[in-house]
């Protein structure tokens, strides 16, 4: 596990030149492939010493702090095939890895098909990070204190991955292995996120909770999706807990509790109680373990009720 020490300077005006020196990155080579195949070949050629660079929102901070010192950056920003958002009735919504948080937030297509993503993006970090950070980078960084993964998992989303030996597809859920660790190989690139069309009578809600400033990373973020049977009982339930463990995690026992039943406030409450025990939050500046479990409990209840309400309208 990598422990990130984020140094926030409260008195920027007193930085000495020596302190500034510490924040300068080590130098590196910078390559700009034009295709995914070329990028994967370059990554393979450089072994583990090259890193993929997209928006840089995450990577440059780690490099300035000396936590990562890649010898080479492979900038994939100029690869056209990684851009764009499109919808297909069979496949669903495809979001290119280079789509920025802000593009997702303001896309009319996303607003029509998966408005939950636009709502969530409005609260991600700040306008500058949303302009720079990409969906692909957000997932590939393996950063646990983030939002999108929970929603993607709740929607049974998949990621498409390209490597020197071709393409593979995996559930977003399987992408995350540990803190800042994903199942992407060193020479692979996450190229797309695909969100399948949802069954009829589906509803989803995502709630993030920040314990300090609204622009802080979340203390917890919970996505609940329910797809109802014709008799309004739950056919499929997804309860995904984020920021309360090394990776986003599905609260499977709580999901089982909901499945086959009609959602009532009491049932949602019980699901929250169970889900709060299905995560592994750590005590930190955003709250104690106990506090975060209490937050998860409440967020699951609220999100389940909201998702249910939306499902009844669809």
């Amino acid at each position: 596990m990598i422990v990130l020490v984020i140094r926030v300077r409260s008195e920027a005006s007193t930085i000495t030149s020596d302190e500034h020196e510490l924040q300068i990155m080590k130098n590196f080579d910078y390559l700009e492939p034009k295709t995914v195949a070329e990028a994967c070949a370059l990554l393979k050629q450089h072994g583990g010493e090259a890193k993929v660079f997209a928006g840089g929102a995450h990577l440059t901070i780690l490099m300035k702090q000396g936590l990562l010192e890649p010898k080479t950056l492979v900038n994939i920003k100029k690869i056209p095939e990684l851009k764009g958002i499109r919808f297909d009735a069979d496949e669903g919504l495809t979001v290119g890895a280079l789509v920025t948080h802000r593009e997702l937030e303001t896309s009319a297509l996303v607003h029509e098909k998966f408005p939950v993503l636009c709502e969530a993006e409005r609260e991600v970090a700040n306008i500058r990070v949303r302009n720079m950070g990409t969906v692909g980078g957000n997932l590939a960084s393996g950063e646990p204190l983030t939002d999108l993964a929970q929603i993607f998992i709740a929607l049974d989303g998949k990621v498409k991955i390209s490597g020197p030996n071709g393409q593979r597809t995996m559930a977003v859920e399987e992408l995350f292995l540990d803190f800042y660790t994903t199942s992407l190989a060193e020479d692979e690139i996450l190229t797309q996120v695909v969100l399948p069309p949802q069954p009829p009578r589906s509803g989803i809600d995502y709630i993030r909770f920040s314990s300090s400033s609204v622009v802080d990373k979340p203390a917890a973020g919970v996505a609940v999706r329910v797809s109802l049977n014709a008799d309004a009982t739950v056919g499929t339930a997804r309860i995904v807990l984020g920021c309360v463990g090394a990776t986003p995690v599905r609260a499977r026992k709580a999901e089982s509790l909901l499945t086959g039943k009609k959602i009532t406030p009491e049932l949602a409450q019980e699901a929250g109680t169970i889900a709060a025990q299905e995560c592994t939050p750590t005590s930190d500046l955003r709250g104690s373990e106990l506090y975060k479990r209490a937050i998860v409990k409440t967020l699951v209840r609220r999100a389940a009720l909201k998702a249910h309400e939306r499902a009844l309208q669809n």
């Binding site: 920027a12 130098n27 910078y30 840089g56 929102a57 440059t60 306008i127």
Partner: protein, 158 residues
């Protein structure tokens, strides 16, 4: 490794050789002498280093200069023309929306991007858009007033 990049800074085309590790903030401050944008938190949280890249606010502290190759960069120095301040600068003065001034360049550029995207923002929209810029002197009320007043002024002229 040094690389030649070309960018447009405040309307002027510039070509410059930069090391790969040079940030956009270092480039504009150290090489172009445009020191309106400041280094603050260095982790994209505070907004003191905000610059507009192709009209969008970004944290210049964490953007590689190489990544800005071919882009149009706008700094606070580009807003005024000779003796005439930009209306946002006038509004910030009128409402006393600054004390020490460290955050001001970031706030004004972010507000400029907001008004370009949305010429008549509601107060909530102003607060949401500016939420990622910090003012440690605590001039938030005055900053929101300045932007709101300017936006409604634009409306009355139309």
């Amino acid at each position: 490794m040094k690389k030649l990049i070309s960018l447009i800074i405040n309307g002027n085309e510039r070509s410059v050789e930069v090391e790969a590790r040079t940030t956009l903030l270092d480039l504009v401050r150290e090489q172009f002498g445009l020191t309106g944008a400041k280094l603050g938190c260095d982790i994209q949280v505070c907004g003191a280093c905000t610059l507009l890249v192709d009209d969008k606010p970004v944290s210049a502290c964490s953007m590689l200069a190489l990544d800005a190759d071919g882009c149009a960069i706008e700094t606070v120095e580009g807003l005024s023309s000779k003796d005439k301040l930009h209306p946002l600068q006038e509004a910030f003065m009128e409402f006393g929306a600054l004390q020490c001034g460290y955050c001001t360049s970031g706030f004004i550029l972010t507000a400029k991007a907001l008004l370009a995207e949305c010429p008549q923002p509601t107060e909530t929209q102003i607060r949401d858009y500016l939420a990622g810029n910090f003012c440690r002197c605590g001039c938030y009320q005055e900053i929101v007033q300045a932007v709101r007043n300017l936006a409604s002024g634009v409306r009355s002229k139309e």
